[in-house]
Assembly symmetry: C2
Homo-oligomer: 285 residues x 2
């Protein structure tokens, strides 16, 4: 494959929030879309709502080998297990991609075990919601969002191009490539660390009696404290070393501000606030 063609058949494995949103957008874009889910009820819903053309809970070569492109929207460990168990089902020449939020501990594992007549090109759509499941699918979350392709040395340029094209078809606003390592450092800092902060802040104390006094600051900082504990624990564990590095960076800076306050060192406090104000300007939308 050197480009996506309109008659390419696309299979989505995993019809949760992201998988179902992919299915819907691709189906709306005129592609023949298949879906696999572990749950009968999810497959039935996907068929009824017309976001897939065919679907099953049974993983068979007969079904899977119909598809030119297979997108995995599973938790990382399950994704690796799935490929281990069912890779014989892929069509020869198929292109495999994913939506996994961590890369280093997934990409190489998949590429190393994968059949040589199938290529895996990893991608991370940086779009999501606090809500999960097919009922919460939403193609609007892709608009203006980041879609990051994370090729390794073994990937072909064709596969990289196709992954980027898929991002454009899905409607992402900013499509780029990063190495799996740079991706994981970036995601540890921008996304995982911020979730850790939000969780720790909510765990400080039972603050529910303060709800009437809560302004935007606390709401903004804790919006992402509403978190799927199974998915995020797995993502944290699969990016453990990077996340620990970012957490330590943050702990050091927080402790520096705390100690400045404790010692009445107003110069350090002001210097940190100036740095923070200066840097934050770049992030105004």
């Amino acid at each position: 494959m050197s480009a996506i063609k309109q008659d390419n058949k696309i299979l989505i494995v995993g019809l949760g929030m992201i998988g179902a949103s992919y299915a819907q957008k691709l189906h709306e874009s005129g592609f023949y879309v298949g879906g696999i889910s572990a749950r009968e009820s999810t497959v039935a819903k996907a068929l009824e709502s017309g976001i897939i053309d065919c679907g099953t809970t049974d993983v068979t070569k007969e079904f899977v080998s119909n598809f030119d492109i297979v997108v995995f929207a599973l938790y990382p460990k399950l994704f690796i297990e799935w490929v281990k168990q069912y890779q014989h089902c892929f069509k020869a020449g198929a292109l495999i991609t994913d939506v996994t939020g961590v890369k280093g501990s997934v990409v190489y594992a998949i590429q190393q075990m994968l059949r040589s007549d199938v290529e895996f090109i990893a991608a991370h759509p940086m779009a999501g919601r606090e809500l999960s499941g097919i009922d919460n699918r939403c193609t609007k979350v892709f608009e203006g969002a980041n879609y990051i392709v994370t090729p390794t040395k073994t990937n072909t340029q064709d596969a990289i191009d196709i992954a980027c094209e898929l991002g454009r078809i899905l409607g992402f606003g900013h499509i780029s490539t990063l190495s799996p390592e740079d991706h994981d450092e970036m995601i540890a800092f921008l996304s995982q660390l911020t979730h850790c902060i939000a969780v720790a802040l909510m765990c400080c104390k039972d603050s529910t009696h303060l709800v009437d006094y809560t302004g935007d600051s606390f709401r903004d900082l804790t919006r992402i404290a509403n978190i799927n504990e199974n998915m995020w624990t797995e993502l944290f564990m699969m990016n453990r070393n990077q996340l620990l590095r970012q957490m330590d960076l943050f702990q050091d800076e927080f402790a520096r501000l705390r100690d400045a306050l404790a010692h009445g060192d107003e110069a350090t406090m002001k210097e940190m606030m100036k740095t923070s104000t200066e840097r934050r300007k770049y992030f105004n939308k």
Copy 2:
């Protein structure tokens, strides 16, 4: 005074973002409003834009004694200094109130030194912007926001009622009373701690090269990292012990999550995420 009358004259001391917004809203509500600012140019702007009826940079008894209600919208230390220096200018029977974001270190200091024929009732409008100065005045920030009156034992019920009434006239959505101590604990946790977190997060590293990858999480957590270093350093220092307590609470929980990750203790990670998700539900607007 037992209630606000339409012919009461109201003086705003300090025409920054909040002071000027107060002036504008009170003037729009039909009150005769005076303004005092240290800068000629600010007084001129306030007069030109019609948010005050009269204004001056000169603090004189002749001017100040015209007003029945005086609202201080100054930094806390300057507020205390002002009252020390100029309290002889107040009209006998005048009611004094403020907008200061910390209470314990301000309210008692003012009440103890104040003339016995004048009453100070403290209030904190929990509304603001990242922008400062008269040009950024905005009465919309009051809509739906919290207005907290923090009486002490020496305050009369009449003064408390008038302060609450002022909040309603200004358009606040939720008006309540708290002791200065409960206010300071609440504000240390909900507002000051969250600002410390945002500042520390921006200080971790020069993350400006990551701007293209930044999603809502990082933007939400750092919006308030754009901070006036002079005002916030003063507010932090004047609520130092409470803020240190809240920072320590947060540091402990953050370290607990970090250590769970370091040791692969998934049970603790999931338990913290569940707690955080459960508690965050109460804060959905």
